[in-house]
């Protein structure tokens, strides 16, 4: 099997970017995941932060303890261990979702646009196991992919001023659970009672980059029993 290809680029005074092939792909994401572990082990004390995304890793180091030359050499050294094998590197997480027109105001729009039933939208969203490709935008916001092409929906032309915490949403071929109430332009299809970001808990998030997520439909009673809230979720 061929060695994984990557590219190192300067990002800033104390930062380097590691790029893999620029596409959304489970194999690439697995390389990102492997690279993060290798980098954390190799650089340890000089590291300030390591930030993975779809097909890149931002490596930030302490410029008073090391420099670009040394970090580049260390990265090349540890990245020689990268392997093109598994695409399954994280843990499996199940997230309950209350799918309904009450909790997912854009379900009808998606069904109508795609000429399928609302039930089929709900079935198709649950049928796939999604990979956590990146976490960002807001604390706890995990970008999951990739959604069934039939459910692919562009972002709303006008973002909502208020999307409730727990909203399960689709934009293009990505899906996500809003970790907190915020403005947002994604299409809302349900509500998840699991807190995606809770500063009072350790770990603060149920998922991390590289994990696999499955959505499982629950009814309204179960949603409420699991701590879900409908009021305040003015949709």
């Amino acid at each position: 099997m061929s060695k994984p290809q990557y590219q190192l680029t300067v990002a800033g005074e104390n930062a380097l970017m590691l790029y893999f092939d620029q596409r959304i792909d489970p194999g690439i994401s697995a390389l990102v995941h492997q690279a993060c572990a290798l980098i954390r082990a190799e650089l340890a004390a000089e590291l300030i932060d390591v930030l993975p995304s779809y097909a890149s890793v931002l490596v930030m180091f302490n410029p008073l303890r090391t420099d670009h030359f040394r970090v580049q050499a260390q990265l090349q050294h540890c990245l020689a261990q990268l392997q093109n094998n598994d695409s399954q590197s994280g843990k499996q997480v199940e997230l309950p979702v209350y799918y309904s027109e009450e909790s997912g105001p854009d379900l009808a729009l998606i069904a109508q646009t795609k000429n399928i039933s609302i039930d089929e939208v709900i079935q198709r969203h649950q049928a796939i196991s999604y990979r956590v490709y990146a976490i960002g935008f807001a604390p706890g916001f995990a970008y999951l992919g990739e959604v069934d092409p039939l459910l692919q929906m562009p972002r709303l032309a006008t973002p909502r001023a208020k999307v409730p915490r727990g909203a399960v949403a689709i934009a293009d071929r990505q899906t996500a659970v809003y970790p907190a109430q915020s403005p947002g332009g994604w299409n809302l299809i349900g509500l998840c009672p699991t807190r995606m970001f809770n500063p009072q808990q350790t770990p603060a998030m149920p998922v991390s980059v590289g994990d696999e997520v499955r959505f499982v439909a629950v009814d309204k009673a179960e949603f409420l029993r699991l701590g879900g809230e409908l009021q305040g979720a003015e949709l």
């Binding site: 005074e13 104390n14 596409r23 390591v50 993975p52 807001a138």
Partner: protein, 313 residues
């Protein structure tokens, strides 16, 4: 409990330290004092830990009542500082007693002042830092900016050398800025001509400038790449959205973004930009990573040398 009480919070006063690092995997930004060198001077004058919690007071208007014997130092933007109505010097250690009212007026040069207290304000960190990030509701007191009535725990300190930083060593704000930029990220996606335009023309700070980033206005430049997969954004990264107007991303930036970036501004210059008001004129100049490293190490050596020569009043 020894404390300082907030009588008036001013325009925007936030508890800050050096920032929150190593939490970007959760989507948490770094936060931290926007003008880090000025903030560190406030702590250094008081003999505090470099990361001690202090108050970043933007625009001014903060009033505190000391309920303890302590010492303070105010650095950063120029503004009138008074203790019980009596003018006090900035960039200098000032003694306070229980009942004293500390008042920061409105800024005349620069934008953000730093008020540090001997030993630092004692606030429980969240995710390893006290830095307040309002957008995230993380840090500070319950994720909030300071409000009237807030009590900030301090240590009682009765003896401390009265150090001050000589004026020659204080930063100058409100000048034309030259931001040193390390080219990187998608720099290659900007043609040589576009990059020339970027370095030869001046930009102005727009009113869309806050702790997340500073939007600039000037000659538009275009990347050959319009959109890319979202990727990690480092401090000082200069993002060029489709309108071609640069945005310098600062302490409270979003961790990921998908616009092309031409490189990143040197942190020492980001600190000066953070003190710039709307309308400030600036230029970019390219430096190599080696020059950037040199500048950082020199700044550190210089600061240490100045610190060792400070004399008590």
């Amino acid at each position: 409990m020894s404390s300082f009480e907030v009588i008036a919070a001013g325009v925007l006063s936030l508890l800050q330290d050096n920032g929150r690092f190593g939490q970007s995997v959760l989507g948490l930004t770094t936060g931290g004092a926007m003008d880090a060198p000025s903030a560190r001077w406030a702590n250094r004058l008081l003999g505090n830990d470099n990361n001690a919690t202090l108050i970043e007071c933007s625009v001014g208007g903060l009033q505190l009542r000391a309920n303890s014997y302590s010492y303070i130092a105010v650095t950063g933007a120029e503004l009138p500082l008074s203790i019980n109505g009596k003018a006090a010097e900035l960039w200098a250690v000032q003694k306070v007693q229980p009942g004293d009212v500390i008042e920061l007026g409105m800024v005349s040069q620069g934008l953000r002042a730093y008020l540090a207290v001997a030993g630092g304000f004692a606030v429980t960190p969240q995710f390893g830092s006290v830095s307040t990030v309002l957008r995230e509701g993380i840090g500070g007191l319950n994720g909030n900016k300071l409000q009237t009535g807030d009590l900030l725990a301090v240590q009682e300190v009765k003896q401390l050398p009265r150090l001050s930083l000589p004026p020659a060593y204080r930063p100058q704000f409100n000048r034309i800025l030259t931001l040193r930029l390390v080219e990187g990220y998608q720099a290659e996606s900007f043609s040589v001509t576009e990059r020339q335009r970027f370095y030869l023309n001046s930009y102005k700070v727009t009113p869309q400038a806050d702790r997340m980033g500073y939007k600039l206005a000037g000659t538009a430049i275009q990347s050959k790449q319009s959109q890319l997969l979202s990727e990690g954004i480092c401090y000082g990264a200069v993002q060029i959205p489709p309108d071609g107007q640069p945005i310098v991303l600062l302490n409270d930036r979003q961790t990921l973004g998908g616009y092309p970036k031409i490189g990143s501004v040197l942190s020492l210059d980001c600190a000066l930009l953070a003190q710039a008001v709307a309308g400030t004129e600036l230029y970019f100049t390219a430096i190599s990573p080696e020059q950037a490293h040199n500048a950082l190490c020199l700044a550190k050596v210089r600061t240490d040398a100045i610190t060792s020569q400070l004399v008590s009043l």
